[in-house]
């Protein structure tokens, strides 16, 4: 009889494949944690996963639960390594994909290059047939031209076909018929239609979604097949789950059908981790911040719930309109500001940090690999915030000469000293991150002061206390194992699917039956899907959200609805919308309210980790003190700071700033006036004086 449950999370990144393994004693609930790292092995990524299991000494045949996160989809998209796609649209609309929304975000750019469509015009074909927005057939579908279209596609080397018809969100019958016929005529080709991925309106966004999904489908399917085969060959008989962009995991079978849902799975697991951590430590309202080497990402968790949206775009920034993918993705803001972000001075003597990054090669100047650009990391080193004698956990000898030369170059262009330049870099980097945190809080109608900042990733802990002070946040939590926090989040995830369906309805008496039927129908669809994966209906939990707006508005506000929709409850629902709306926009209107669509969350627990708190050790923090050094806190001046060894911190220890906590993966900068306490899980709680 097994006395251990073994849960593993593996995360395939651009450079490394990470492993976190929790070996939990079923009797005591105590867990032993194993982490390991090995090289990512393109193009046979599954090999890296098997390697890292091996390196961590984890025998696949003993693993009960394996969660897997991969960047295979986002990489295929950004590196343009998908397959040739043919698109079939409603007659008269093949150019929708190219006309897109006609905007240019960078309107100062007279030489703007519009993002090139993933399907060139000669591979975009049309079929007669038309639905109305109510889903009524205005003109029957005529498939007679389809064989010739598919013959052309074959001749042109197309490997995947996407179908998107107007108003298929309201009635997918034509898309279904076309897809069935494609599968009959050409069974080997990867084929997908827009309604399978989303039931929301906006034809350009939906066609783009179908196209990008088709583009990555063969690659992703191949990857997932090899991964499961490789694991099975090593004796793995547990459940394999794939991390999704909606903060849940899903089965391999399901993901293989619509792999595009993996697109933002990396950040999603970290944000889910932050939500789970919040639940664990009694902090339901969390601002989550993930600072890596090239970017910082943030998301807001309210009342323990991550916000899932379908307004996701790749490659969209100030310079480009990007490409929409209408799949459920955790609501996040990402900026080009991480540890490796390069500081530069423009032609007019103004300091900027990012979005260009020194990456891993050459990396920050202090890596001594030939980098000559000053990065945020170089500034942190120069100011003593990062320990120059324990750089990257002691694995790299900091090349302070190179760092100084790089910072001096910045200082010279600004006409300031090296130290002033370093302070300026930290302040600008912090300012960029504050603005990103404002975008997910203030710009969504939330006051950051009502939230706890949870910071993770390689650089989160270094900046978190300063950002919190700026935003008026009272408390920062740095999770134990902040650098592998995403993998932990993966292990805490539920099997989860988010269903979005556009459906216009007013809230007048008599409307409830129709709305209730839509939820019921979608819930049944979810239960049927779960059932095929052996998950009993009783294990599935639903969250029903309605998307409402005042009639004539465009944008919607989501409201969580409890219990069945009845005419008697419509009034209460309307009130709940008014309240949610007022909180977000500060006012309410007497105008009629309408439903624009539903958002149904279906989730089932699939054996997630139970965390167990340890009692306070009783030892004083001084037991973890490893020295003191002078640290420049930029706006808080130069201070003599206590340096703590993160690996020696134990539950119950407490101390005050100025201080720095160091372990092999993370540096926590504690500002003067901050008070620190270690909780039973090893998380570092920083309380600000305000």
């Amino acid at each position: 009889m097994s006395t251990k449950t073994i849960r593993v999370a593996t995360d395939v990144g651009g450079t490394f494949t990470d492993l976190v393994c929790f070996e939990t004693d079923t009797a005591t609930g105590e867990s032993r944690v194993i982490t390991a790292k090995s090289d990512t092995t393109p193009p046979n990524f599954e090999q890296g996963v098997l390697n890292v299991l091996d390196k961590g000494g984890v025998d696949p045949s003993t693993v009960d639960f394996l969660a897997h996160g991969t960047t295979v989809v986002i990489n295929a998209l950004t590196e343009r390594k998908g397959v040739k796609v043919g698109l079939i649209t409603t007659e008269g609309f093949r150019d929708s994909l190219e006309i897109a929304r006609g905007n240019r975000p960078d309107f100062f750019n007279l030489h703007y290059r519009k993002p090139e469509p993933f399907v060139p015009r000669y591979l975009r074909r049309e079929l007669p047939g038309r639905m109305s927005y109510r889903g009524e057939e205005m003109r029957p579908l005529d498939l007679s031209a389809l064989p010739a279209i598919l013959a052309d596609f074959r001749a042109d080397g197309v490997e995947a076909v996407a179908v998107c018809f107007l108003h298929a969100y309201a009635n997918p019958a034509h898309e279904r018929a076309a897809l069935d016929e494609i599968r009959r005529l050409w069974p080997e080709v990867a084929a997908v239609s827009s309604h399978q991925i989303t039931r929301e309106w906006r034809e350009y966004e939906r066609s783009s979604t179908a196209v990008l999904s088709a583009y990555v489908q063969p690659t992703a399917e191949r990857y997932l097949t090899r991964l499961s085969d490789g694991l099975s060959a090593k004796g793995f008989a547990g459940n394999l789950f794939i991390m999704q962009s909606n903060c849940g995991v899903d089965s391999v079978e399901s993901v293989s059908k619509i792999p595009i849902t993996m697109v933002e799975s990396g950040p999603a697991s970290g944000f889910w981790g932050a939500a789970e951590l919040g639940r664990l430590i009694g902090e339901p309202n969390v601002l989550a911040l993930d600072i890596g080497g090239t970017t910082a990402k943030c998301s807001l968790i309210e009342d323990g719930r991550v916000r899932i949206m379908t307004d996701y775009w790749i490659e969209r920034d100030k310079r480009s309109a990007g490409y929409p993918i209408m799949v459920p993705v955790v609501d996040l803001v990402e900026i080009g500001n991480g540890g490796g972000s390069i500081a530069w001075v423009d032609d007019f003597a103004k300091l900027h940090v990012g979005p260009q990054s020194a990456g891993a090669m050459p990396g920050p100047a202090a890596y001594g690999r030939g980098g000559t650009s000053a990065t945020t990391t170089d500034a942190n080193l120069w100011l003593g915030r990062i320990n120059r004698d324990y750089f990257c956990g002691g694995s790299v000898v900091a090349d302070m000469k190179a760092a100084e030369a790089a910072l001096k170059a910045v200082g010279d262009r600004l006409g300031v000293s090296v130290t002033e330049a370093a302070r300026g870099i930290i302040r600008i980097a912090n300012n960029n991150m504050v603005n990103a945190l404002k975008l997910v809080s203030l710009n969504r109608g939330h006051d950051p002061r009502d939230f706890t900042l949870v910071a993770f990733g390689g650089g989160g802990a270094m900046h978190a206390a300063a950002l919190a002070a700026e935003l008026g946040v009272a408390k920062v939590v740095i999770p134990a194992g902040a650098s592998v926090f995403s993998a932990w989040g993966m292990m805490m995830s539920d099997l989860r699917r988010d269903f979005f369906v556009t459906h216009l309805a007013d809230l007048k008496t008599g409307a409830a039956a129709e709305i209730e039927a839509l939820y019921a129908e979608t819930e049944k669809l979810a239960l049927d899907q779960f059932a095929t994966e052996g998950i009993a209906a009783g294990k599935v939990r639903f969250l029903r959200y309605g998307k409402f707006r005042y009639q004539n508005q465009e944008h919607t506000t989501e409201v969580l609805l409890e219990g069945p929709i009845t005419d008697a409850r419509l009034g209460a629902i309307e009130t709940a919308f008014h309240e949610a709306y007022e909180r977000e926009y500060t006012y309410r209107l007497a105008a009629p309210v309408e439903l624009v669509g539903i958002h149904l969350v279906a989730a089932a627990e699939v054996g997630k980790l139970e965390m167990k708190a340890r009692p306070p050790s009783g030892k004083p923090a001084s037991a973890a003190l490893k020295g003191r050094r002078s640290v420049d806190y930029a706006l808080d001046g130069i201070q003599d700071a206590a340096i703590y060894d993160g690996d020696k911190l134990e539950p119950g220890m407490a101390f005050a700033g100025p201080a720095v906590v160091e372990d092999s993966g993370t540096t926590v900068v504690v500002h003067p006036g901050n008070r620190v306490e270690i909780d039973g899980y090893g998380n570092i709680h920083i309380r600000l004086k305000n």
Partner: protein, 572 residues
């Protein structure tokens, strides 16, 4: 050349702080914070507005001004509205009796076209912002396009004076010390064909101004008044340097280019005009003084918009991609002559003020091309190709209205083919999804397709125009404003002309009636509005276009074989 009968316009040069005393990093933090405040205003407006013309077309301007009416920050929306709000903030404040008559919680409504630069539908809400100690630190302001403000028609191409164009609010307080002025509000409601939309949009503007005021107060409060003022001067100086450095690279000279309006909406005669760009050192002067006399029809462009189009053109060219503020405008001088199309006097009609202004931007680029052709693209379709629809819904009897610009082909430039997008004066605007449109308005779209052979040939080719075919499912009214239907978009450096815009209604009986500019045309159920937008001009000699690029265009169907053989014989 400025003479006794011309007027010279410059940006605000007054100083209220010491730029040298400012810390450059703090300046940057403050600049970001101000832009973030402006963006919060925009977001509140867009999310709460009732009209697609606001939340999709972004036909609004949100900005923050200092007490000297200098632009501190503006969120990206309609470029054409960039840097015009100072005139209306100034007028709005003056008309309510000056700053001594401003109190916390006041909101002023203002839409006199000669102060806003726009037609009466573009109504500004101006919110004076005070610190807790009662000091006025500036204004947040939002000018938004209202769907209807009780002009002779919801949208007009044939007005003969400004009084036909809508109700005028000459600077009236809609909120006094935080209290809604109900008398004015009822006037607003009474003076619109679509009162629900207008009430909703007014509310959204008020909310946006308040959101901005809170964020603005926070910025000033956080850094203190003195440091804030020093940093603002530092920020302005930086912007000024950016623009000046660009013009230092352009050879001194006077560069003249011409454009032509199809008509003024009343008579059918074309209206040629010319604009001169004078570069001297780092100063640039845009001279409109040679403009034709102001017109009897509504194509007159009031001075604030004339100045604005000069600022838009120059900031896009030389602004280094930064969000604009007053500093960017300091190197720019604008000369106008009262009584002309670009400096009309009341009560000249100005409903279509945007059309000469839009074309002026591209004419300014054409002038600059004479000095530095690689700096600018060839002409686009040259118009925003607007259609406004309205009527009464068959089933509900509810009045409705909607309007939209339409994408055109963009001009090619040295190094790039043109794409298909909205005119540069509406570049942040997103074209509406057809599925959302059909759910809202009584039509079915028959076709949304790139027009073959519509882009100008060149080493780099122009972007294609688009066919938009709207089949009406109820009887409706339309107003169309489609300019540049008579003149083909120009190419540059040997690039060819593109195909111009066109608009026509195909009636159920088969008649095809051209409607480049029409007001309140009754379009019956079953009729089709066929809007065909123009392409963009080409850049460089077509003979220099690589063979494979020509063949790819041919395979994609952007061009026909006949067109390819005519312009690109090298490919065959």
């Amino acid at each position: 050349m400025p003479t006794s009968n011309t007027v010279l316009h410059r940006a605000g040069a007054v100083r209220t702080g010491d730029p040298a005393a400012a810390d450059p990093v703090t300046t940057e933090v403050i600049r970001h914070a101000l832009n973030s405040a402006a963006n919060q205003m925009k977001r509140a407006l867009v999310r709460t507005a009732f009209s697609p013309v606001i939340y999709e077309v972004l036909d609004f301007a949100v900005a923050i001004y200092d007490p000297e009416m200098r632009l501190l920050a503006q969120a990206p929306s309609l470029p054409m509205f960039m840097g015009t709000l100072n005139f209306c903030v100034e007028e709005a404040v003056r008309n309510v009796g000056g700053t001594e008559n401003l109190f916390p919680g006041d909101m002023i409504m203002y839409n006199w076209p000669y102060g806003t630069g726009s037609h009466p539908q573009d109504l500004a809400v101006v919110n004076p912002v005070f610190l807790d100690d009662g000091e006025l630190i500036g204004y947040t302001a939002i000018k938004g396009h209202w769907l209807d403000i009780a002009g002779k028609d919801p949208y007009c191409t044939d007005t003969i004076d400004v009084f036909q164009e809508g109700t005028i609010y000459p600077g009236v307080k809609i909120y006094k010390k935080g209290e809604l002025n109900d008398d004015i509000h009822r006037m607003v409601i009474a003076n619109s064909r679509v009162p629900k939309f207008v009430a909703g949009d007014l509310n959204a503007q008020v909310v946006g101004c308040r959101v901005g005021a809170t964020a603005f107060r926070e910025v000033v409060g956080r850094f203190g008044r003195a440091e804030f003022l020093n940093s603002v001067e530092n920020m302005f100086d930086h912007g000024e340097r950016v623009v000046r450095s660009y013009f230092e690279k352009i050879p001194d000279g006077r560069y003249v280019a011409s454009g032509e309006m199809d008509s003024d909406g009343i008579s059918d005669e074309p209206i040629p005009f010319e604009i001169a760009v004078e570069v001297k050192g780092s100063d640039v002067r845009i001279d409109f003084s040679n403009a034709p006399e102001s017109r009897p029809g509504p194509v007159n462009c009031p001075v604030p918009s004339t100045i604005s189009c000069a600022r838009v053109a120059i900031t896009m060219l030389a602004g280094y991609g930064e969000a604009p503020h007053e500093g960017h405008f300091r190197a720019i001088e604008v000369v106008t002559r009262p009584g002309t199309m670009f400096h009309p006097l009341p009560p000249a009609p100005c409903f279509l003020y945007g059309w000469p202004a839009d074309q002026a931007i591209e004419v300014i680029y054409k002038a600059i091309a004479a000095a530095l052709p690689e700096a600018v693209p060839a002409q686009s379709g040259g118009c925003i190709c607007s259609v406004v629809w309205w009527g009464t819904r068959e089933k509900t009897g509810e009045p409705w209205a909607d309007g939209s610009p339409h994408p055109v082909g963009q001009g090619a430039w040295k190094g790039g083919d043109g794409g298909t997008m909205l005119h540069i004066s509406e570049s942040a605007t997103r074209f509406s999804p057809i599925e959302v449109w059909e759910a809202k308005n009584p039509w079915l779209m028959d076709r949304l397709a790139l027009r073959q052979d519509s882009g100008g040939p060149g080493e780099w080719r122009g972007g294609a125009g688009v066919d938009f075919f709207f089949r009406m499912t109820e009887d409706i009214y339309i107003t169309t404003v489609v300019e540049r239907t008579r003149n083909a978009p120009w190419g540059l450096s040997g690039g060819g002309f593109a195909v111009p815009n066109g608009a026509a209604v195909r009636f159920p009986d088969g008649r095809l009636v051209p409607v480049p500019k029409t007001t309140r045309l009754a379009v019956p159920k079953g009729a089709v509005l066929e809007l065909a937008t123009g392409g963009g001009g080409g850049y460089g000699d077509p003979k220099a276009r690589p063979r494979e690029a020509v063949l790819a265009d041919l395979e994609a169907g952007y061009i026909s074989e006949e067109f390819a053989r005519e312009h690109y014989p090298q490919a065959f």
